[in-house]
């Protein structure tokens, strides 16, 4: 999110960009009420506190849950863009029961199952068009990170409440 704000490649940050991102995230931390881990938690927090904006990490699924409890919320993609990913089924080379796996995939691709996915989880499916996005949306499909460990460690520290300038990661 910081990289997008900076206009940098969100999956490949250089040292300076990291530093800037950490600073931005600390500033963000100081500005937010709290962080959440699950969509349910976000719903609960929304109900218990005065919250205007939620970073909808869980996307349409989360929106659906919030709407379910009566929240007057909408889902927007920032101008800076948003990260996106697809859930996929993958067959490995060593798959033992290929036929069964294929049957399962065929099953999940049935209209009834796909509709149920959308209906229950609020997720888009591959059978029916959702119509929630348009071409102007800035979508960054997930890519491998330059340094997962580092990112994880930094975020852990930021979340724990470390202050800027205390660490110099690189």
């Amino acid at each position: 999110m910081a990289a997008l704000t900076m206009g940098a490649d969100p999956f490949n940050l250089d040292e300076k960009e990291f530093l800037n991102a950490v600073e931005m995230l600390i500033a963000l931390r100081r500005n937010v009420l709290t962080f959440y881990t699950s969509p349910e938690e976000s719903v609960r927090l929304y109900q218990e506190n005065d919250i205007a904006l939620i970073y909808g990490n869980y996307g349409s699924q989360q929106v659906k849950q919030l709407q379910a409890v009566g929240a007057d919320v909408a889902y927007v993609i920032p101008d800076e863009g948003a990260l996106a990913w697809l859930d996929c089924w993958v067959l490995t080379n060593r798959v033992k029961n290929k036929q069964l796996a294929e049957q399962w995939i065929n099953y999940t691709l049935e209209k009834k199952v796909s509709d149920t996915l959308t209906q229950r989880q609020g997720l888009s499916n591959t059978v029916t068009a959702s119509g929630k996005t348009d071409d102007t949306d800035k979508i960054f499909w997930l890519e491998p990170l330059e340094n997962y460990t580092l990112r994880k460690e930094l975020w852990y520290k930021i979340r724990s409440g470390d202050t800027s300038g205390i660490f110099s990661p690189l």
Binding site: V32, L33, T34, T37, K157
Partner: protein, 795 residues
């Protein structure tokens, strides 16, 4: 298999006993299981309550410590940190506070962290004491901003004296403390200045695992504890994989393991007791209790759920021991009941068996021994009845025995009588056609008979039909059956049986068979036949005598009449007749007298012969000489009648032993007959075979044949009887009728035979044979004969 009543009773009693013991045992076992489960439930519930109470108490206790810290005046007064800078005063106070924090940490091992956090400066930590591996550490560097954590931003909204209880989750806060990554409860309270402004937050982090370990260390090994939050997420669970699933992106809910518990979480119930299968596969059964532990302020309606579970198997371990004990008891009592039953059955069956043996060994005429007649129960009654019964039997047998002896004697006598009389009894039943006959019949006919048909079979065929008819008639018309004579054939012998029969009736008067006797009357019949023969002979003899007398009187009267007539003629006519005439009268008288004399001589001879008083003098002599002599004597007659004589003989000499005088009498007689039968010019043939075999004897055979009229066929035998003359000779030939009778007697006395036959060419042939040697019989026979002189008969 046959069982005695005693055994049956014993088995029944044993089975009954075992059945009741088993029922009782099963009931006890079942009840014990129920009680054990009940007890376990109660035990668990109690433990649960205690544990929950301890937990609440601990939380309360910690809360009080938080409040105590938050209320410290040092903190209130030191709320000066407007610029996030500690005053020197506070620096001293800080040492004092960290000492308090540290001491508390030492005293309460479940505390992982105690902090004082600034209400400003993004929730900067002002004081922080961590539990680290080496002990308690006062953190002075890298203090962090915690504003975004609920224990800060929520507590800051509380008023003084209020407590914030965090939800329980992993401590994800970076640091060097031991609590990092551990389930943690944060208990916090705001610190307010004396002006009432909230200036900071006191937070005590409690390590849930440590806390829980401390609370539950007394729990037995078999009891497992689980703790969940309000949603059902496992916080404490024996399987560490299950806890804090929501922190790992995968929720582990108790509702997934125990389906029936959902309503408990959603409802108002405070406690739940379950005896159910738990786990994803519901493999194991547990007895479990669950309690809601209020968490935080009552208005928030927050709670945790504490559950205690123990495997039902373990609970029922006691019952298994009890079950084994019960089975042992059942076996023991079964054996006991079998023994008691055996004993009982023996008590019951022994006297019965004894009685049975006694009755089995009972011999007629003797008393039953060893009967328990002295007993006063049913068995004694039975025994006395047996005793009485046998006495009656004995009496009846005695009477029967007497009757039987009498009957046997009678039967024996009858049998003997029957045997002597050759009298058999028979009995026939019409329904079965079964015939029973007494042994005597077997003696009579030589075999046993079993039915009527075989009786009929041995009857002579010509009589059989009549016997069968009469038998059937007798049975049909119910009258006596009486076959007076009956001829049966057996062993090639002819026996005469007399069969008598009476109808036998049943109780209703219907005929069911016949009863009767069969008697061998063969001898009787033989006598009758013999008697009849004798009577016939006697009658015949009588008739012969009558005829003889008639003949005699006739034969005697004729010459006597002639003598008397001619004598009277002579007397009356002697004056008037010539001398010649008178002479012829005398001649007639003489002839008649001679004839009379001849007749009387013959009669005398035959009388002697028939009376056996004539002596035969056997002398060995040439028979041919005797024949020659006879022919010479008769030569004048041959010449007179102009008859030719032809005499042939097989040999020159024919010696035999005979009475020549008597045999000559026979030959002369036969020659005289032949002459009488012949007419002028005819020839008489005489033939003598000196050695001829006749009836296996060597004999001398004499035959004489004439050429006369012959003898009628039916007279060839009777001609030898007395006073019998051939019907062809009677008229003209004359004669006494005694000649051939005398001849026969003489020849018979010699042991020979005499017979007559007709020659096919005409004329009669007379044969006689003489044995060459005297047989023994005749020698003996002759000695008894009285020697007597006789005249030689003629004619």
């Amino acid at each position: 298999m046959n069982f005695s009543i005693g055994t049956k009773l014993g088995i029944l009693l044993s089975l009954l006993g075992i059945f009741f013991i088993a029922i009782t045992g099963y009931y006890a076992y079942n009840q014990s299981r129920m009680l054990l489960i009940k007890a376990a439930e109660e035990k668990l519930l109690t433990a649960n309550h205690v544990l929950a109470q301890r937990f609440s108490n601990s939380i309360d206790s910690i809360s009080k410590k938080v409040l105590f810290l938050a209320s410290l005046n040092i903190l209130k007064e030191s709320a000066l940190n407007e610029q996030a800078k500690l005053s020197d005063d506070f620096s001293d106070n800080a040492h004092f506070l960290t000492d308090i924090f540290s001491n508390l940490m030492y005293s309460y091992p479940e505390f992982s962290q105690i902090r004082y956090i600034d209400a400003n400066n993004y929730g900067k930590e002002l004081l922080r004491v961590d539990r680290v591996e080496t002990g308690i550490k006062v953190v002075e560097k890298n203090l962090q901003e915690k504003n975004h954590y609920p224990y800060v931003y929520k507590t800051l909204k509380l008023s003084s004296g209020q407590i914030y209880l965090s939800s329980i989750n992993f401590n994800r806060e970076y640091g060097t403390h031991l609590a990092e990554g551990k389930p943690t409860i944060r208990i916090a309270s705001p610190v307010t200045s004396q002006k009432g402004k909230t200036i900071g937050v006191i937070v005590i982090n409690v390590d849930l695992n440590n806390l829980f370990f401390l609370l539950s260390y007394e729990l037995p090994e078999s009891i497992q504890a689980v703790l969940t939050n309000q949603s059902g997420d496992y916080l404490i669970h024996p399987d560490s994989e299950k806890v804090f699933g929501f922190e790992k992106g995968r929720r582990m809910l108790i509702q997934d393991d125990i389906q029936s518990i959902s309503s408990f979480y959603e409802g108002n119930g405070k406690q739940l007791i379950l005896d159910t299968n738990i786990g994803p596969q519901a493999k194991h059964r547990f007895v479990s209790t669950f309690l809601k532990i209020p968490f935080g302020y009552q208005k928030d309606n927050r709670f945790l759920v504490l559950g205690l579970m123990t495997p039902t198997e373990r609970v029922l371990e006691g019952s298994q021991i009890l079950g084994r004990d019960i089975i042992n008891l059942i076996i023991l009592f079964s054996i006991l009941s079998i023994l008691v039953s055996l004993f009982l059955s023996r008590i019951l069956a022994k006297p019965i068996n004894d009685m049975a043996i006694s009755v089995r060994n009972y011999e007629t005429g003797k008393r039953l021994i060893d009967l328990p007649t002295g007993r006063k129960d049913e068995i004694g009654f039975l025994a006395r009845n047996f005793s009485t019964l046998t006495q009656q039997i004995n009496q009846q047998i005695d009477a029967l025995e007497k009757n039987r002896t009498i009957l046997l004697n009678n039967e024996k006598q009858l049998s003997e009588a029957q045997h002597i009389a050759k009298l058999a009894s028979w009995e026939w039943h019409s329904m079965s056609d079964k015939l029973s006959v007494s042994n005597e019949l077997e003696d009579i006919i030589g075999k046993k008979l079993y039915d009527l048909e075989s009786l009929f079979k041995i009857i002579r065929p010509d009589v059989r039909v009549r016997v069968k008819q009469e038998f059937a008639q007798a049975f049909k018309y119910k009258h006596r059956f009486h076959i007076t004579y009956q001829i049966m054939n057996l062993n090639e012998e002819i026996r005469h049986l007399r069969m008598l029969g009476e109808i036998v009736y049943d109780g209703d008067g219907a005929p069911i068979g016949m009863l009767g006797s069969i008697q061998d009357v063969t001898r009787e019949q033989t006598y009758i036949v013999q008697l009849q023969g004798l009577r016939l002979e006697a009658e015949k003899a009588n008739q012969s005598k009558t005829e003889f007398l008639a003949n005699m009187s006739h034969e005697l009267r004729t010459p006597l009449h002639a003598i008397l007539s001619f004598a009277q003629f002579g007397l009356t006519r002697k004056e008037n007749i010539t001398e010649d005439k008178l002479s012829s009268y005398f001649q007639m008288i003489q002839t008649s007298g001679e004839r009379l004399l001849e007749l009387l001589s013959g009669l005398l001879d035959i009388s002697k012969l028939e009376a056996g008083k004539l002596e035969i003098k056997f002398i060995r002599k040439n028979f041919l000489e005797v024949v020659d002599d006879c022919l010479k004597e008769q030569q004048s007659l041959f010449l007179e009648q102009k008859l030719k004589i032809q005499f042939n003989h097989s040999e020159a000499f024919c010696f035999a032993e005979f009475d020549s005088l008597r045999i000559a009498q026979v030959i002369s007689n036969l020659i005289a007959n032949a002459i009488n039968a012949s007419i002028k010019g005819q020839t008489i043939y005489i033939d003598v075979q000196c050695r001829q075999t006749l009836d296996d004897n060597e004999v001398l055979l004499f035959s004489i044949r004439d050429e006369g009229v012959g003898i009628p066929e039916d007279e060839t035998v009777t001609i030898f009887d007395k006073f019998v003359q051939s019907s062809k000779t009677k008229t003209g030939a004359g004669g006494t009728g005694l000649g051939l009778a005398i001849c026969r007697q003489i020849i018979v006395l010699h042991g020979g035979k005499i017979w007559a036959d007709n020659d096919p060419d005409g004329g009669a042939i007379f044969f006689f044979s003489l044995p060459l040697e005297r047989s023994e019989r005749h020698q003996i026979g002759n000695k008894s004969l009285q020697p007597e002189e006789t005249n030689s008969p003629r004619g």
